[in-house]
């Protein structure tokens, strides 16, 4: 199935290639003798590639599986099936030491700048901890200098290094989290809603920081967020998820100008633009209903229950993600011919 997807040519081997990734969670009943009563297919056959130096935005509403996808790529979750080819190596079956080695090249930035920093550690030890975990802190002087450089690189002042997380605002804490993620000089950063807990004026500072760091360090991002405007701003390409599947993947401007999947279209229409003149002119197509439970996804295309253009075939047959141009794929029966 992977050859049907927009992917790289031979000349630019992607940094990450995810193929038919599935993450299923069993629902069990009983305490001593557990029996499986159902399965939640949080991620169900997701494939995409990320090229070196680009940002792939992963958007979707709650329950779409975007965070689970991120956690599976980082191998904080074990995939049920599928391949995760990172820098030429399938890391899906990796364990223990092998995984530790992979994580030197792949790091995470979390959503909650309060919950993700240990309140009892100073900023210096938080940022330096990855070096300690990976046994790279042998030379104390070099480590100290490295941590100082990291703290400076995210726009914090050197004298902040010996303070504790509670002394910082949300935006500053997110900078600390970013500094920590950069300590091992990874090539891929997975950022899960990294700016959604921040106020708008601070959000812009952190978005700019992400973009500056990418330019300076040649980083690759998997940027997971629900805010389409933020994702469009920061991404090179965008993948839209709905109930565990990618429904459309495209260049960010194509996706906005000409959304092909009815869900992408609905999502775009739902997001208000910060300009009353534009809003007054925009067509409004609000779709009804809410995202169905992942425990009982609708048969056929899982969006058909809310789709304004659903056809008979959509109720029975699940559409697969089909490449319709070199950079673009969509999973919709409207686009099968």
């Amino acid at each position: 199935m992977s050859d049907a997807l927009p992917g790289p040519t031979l000349s630019d081997e992607p940094i990450l290639r995810v193929e038919d990734l599935k993450v299923h969670f069993p629902i069990t009943k009983g305490i001593v003798i557990q029996r499986k009563v159902a399965t939640v297919k949080a991620v169900d056959g997701v494939s995409f590639t990320i090229r070196r130096g680009e940002t792939l935005g992963l958007v979707g509403e709650s329950g779409s599986g975007k965070s689970t996808t991120g956690l599976a790529v980082l191998r904080m979750l074990t995939p049920t099936a599928g391949r995760i080819v990172f820098e030429g190596q399938d890391i899906a079956p990796h364990r223990g030491a092998e995984l530790l080695a992979v994580r030197r090249r792949m790091q995470m930035v979390y959503q909650d700048p309060y919950g993700s920093l240990n309140p009892r550690m100073t900023i210096r030890s938080i940022v330096g901890e990855p070096l300690a975990v990976h046994g790279l802190d042998g030379d104390k002087k070099a480590t100290r200098e490295k941590v100082a450089a990291l703290i400076a690189s995210v726009g914090l002042l050197p004298d902040m290094a010996d303070r504790y997380p509670h002394e910082f605002s949300g935006g500053q804490r997110q900078r600390i989290g970013i500094a920590r993620s950069l300590a091992l000089e990874p090539s891929l950063l997975i950022a899960d809603e990294p700016v959604s807990a921040l106020d708008v004026s601070i959000q812009a500072q952190v978005i700019n920081l992400f973009m500056d760091l990418q330019e300076r360090l040649g980083l690759t991002y998997l940027f997971i967020a629900h805010d389409l405007a933020v994702v469009r701003h920061i991404s090179t390409r965008i993948a839209v998820m709905y109930l565990g599947r990618i429904v459309e993947i495209a260049d960010r401007d194509d996706l906005y100008r000409n959304p092909l999947h009815p869900y992408t279209e609905a999502l775009m229409a739902a997001v208000p633009v910060a300009d009353p003149e534009v809003e007054a002119r925009r067509p409004r197509a609000v779709i009804s209903g809410e995202v169905p439970s992942a425990l009982r996804p609708p048969p056929g295309c899982s969006f058909h229950t809310r789709c304004p253009r659903a056809m008979a075939v959509c109720k029975t047959e699940q559409p697969f993600l089909r490449k319709i141009s070199p950079e673009r794929a969509v999973a919709c029966h409207l686009h099968t011919s």
Binding site: N208, A229, P276, V286
Partner: protein, 323 residues
């Protein structure tokens, strides 16, 4: 101009904290006309929610207290009302919709009972009749199969459906003013659009006014008639929505506009964030509280506090500089 439905004059609400008393709302004045939607925008700590809670006298005391000012609703000063007096207004003439529908609904009572309750309490309508009215209200907020859904409990509803229930409750006594405090922040975007469209539609039908409190400049652009921008407990700019977006006058408003990525914007355009951190209410600088982050600061800003001044028709800003 028609007589305003709500007129807030010089409202100051203080909270006692470990670090001394702070003015969460500091000398705020604004008006809401009948049928109008006023958006109050601001970041966390700007005082937008405390303003809303003050109007309904829902400030927990202690530690909070409305220190001064008047809140004239339909000519009556709400600040001066005794407890039974303000209770007769809450949920009756002024209704509130909170951000988190799950914590605003009682998990142990059926939805029907909670929607019928204000009708019974304020109108003295017998329960059986109040239930009938509740059925109709639930239908009006487009919850399908209203009659049977009345006997369900809040946990059996999804987030969006719960917020519809909150709107039904708010509408129960045909209020003249609805205050919605970040009503869709906890919801997915497609559901957010449904809920805000519904809210706008019902206020249009009933002619009631709406105060929409939000941090989302997109939501403001889509739904508000007029906008008040708050910073550090004060209103820094107030204007009709189109005017505010076309010709923002206060450096903070300008900064906010340049900070938000736009869905229709050219990607890659560098955002222009407001430098620095949001103000600490316990140690505000003398003069303008936006001063330390302001690009247009002049000496006067460091010593004097700017009051709201008219800059155009229905457009006012609290700033000394010419932006």
């Amino acid at each position: 101009m028609t007589r305003p439905l709500l007129e807030v004059n010089n409202l100051t609400t203080r909270f006692r904290t470990e670090r001394g008393t702070v003015a969460a709302v500091d000398g705020v004045s604004f008006q809401v006309a009948p049928g109008e939607t006023l958006a109050i925008v601001g970041e966390s700590g700007s005082g937008k929610s405390v303003t809303a809670l003050s109007v309904l006298r829902l400030i927990p005391n202690p530690p909070g207290r409305i220190e001064s000012g008047e809140i004239l609703f339909d000519g009556v000063n709400l600040v001066k009302l005794d407890d039974p007096g303000i209770r007769a207004v809450r949920g009756n003439k002024i209704a509130m919709i909170f951000q988190e529908p799950m914590s605003s609904l009682n998990p142990a009572l059926t939805v029907g009972l909670q929607v019928a309750e204000p009708i019974n309490v304020h109108r003295g309508t017998p329960w059986a009749k109040a239930y009938e009215a509740a059925t109709e209200l639930i239908g009006r907020v487009r919850i399908a199969d209203a009659a049977s859904r009345l006997n369900s409990y809040p946990h059996q509803y999804s987030g969006g459906m719960r917020q519809r229930v909150m709107i039904a409750m708010a509408l129960a006594c045909a209020p003249r003013l609805i205050i919605a405090d970040e009503p869709t922040t906890a919801l997915d975007v497609t559901v957010q659009a449904q809920i805000l469209d519904l809210l706008k539609e019902v206020t249009r039908e009933t002619g009631s006014s709406l105060i929409l409190i939000t941090h989302d400049l997109g939501v403001v652009a889509r739904y508000a008639d007029r906008v008040a921008v708050m910073y550090g407990g004060r209103i820094v700019e107030v204007a009709p929505a189109r005017d505010l977006y076309a010709r923002p006058q206060h450096p903070y408003t300008l900064g906010l506009m340049a900070s938000v990525p736009r869905l229709d914007g050219g990607g890659g355009r560098r955002l222009m964030p407001i430098e620095g951190q949001p103000p600490d209410l316990a140690s505000l600088p003398p003069g303008c509280s936006f001063g330390p982050r302001c690009r247009s600061i002049i000496p006067q800003c460091r010593t004097e506090r700017p009051e709201l001044i008219q800059v155009a028709d229905r457009h006012a800003k609290a700033c000394f500089a010419n932006v």
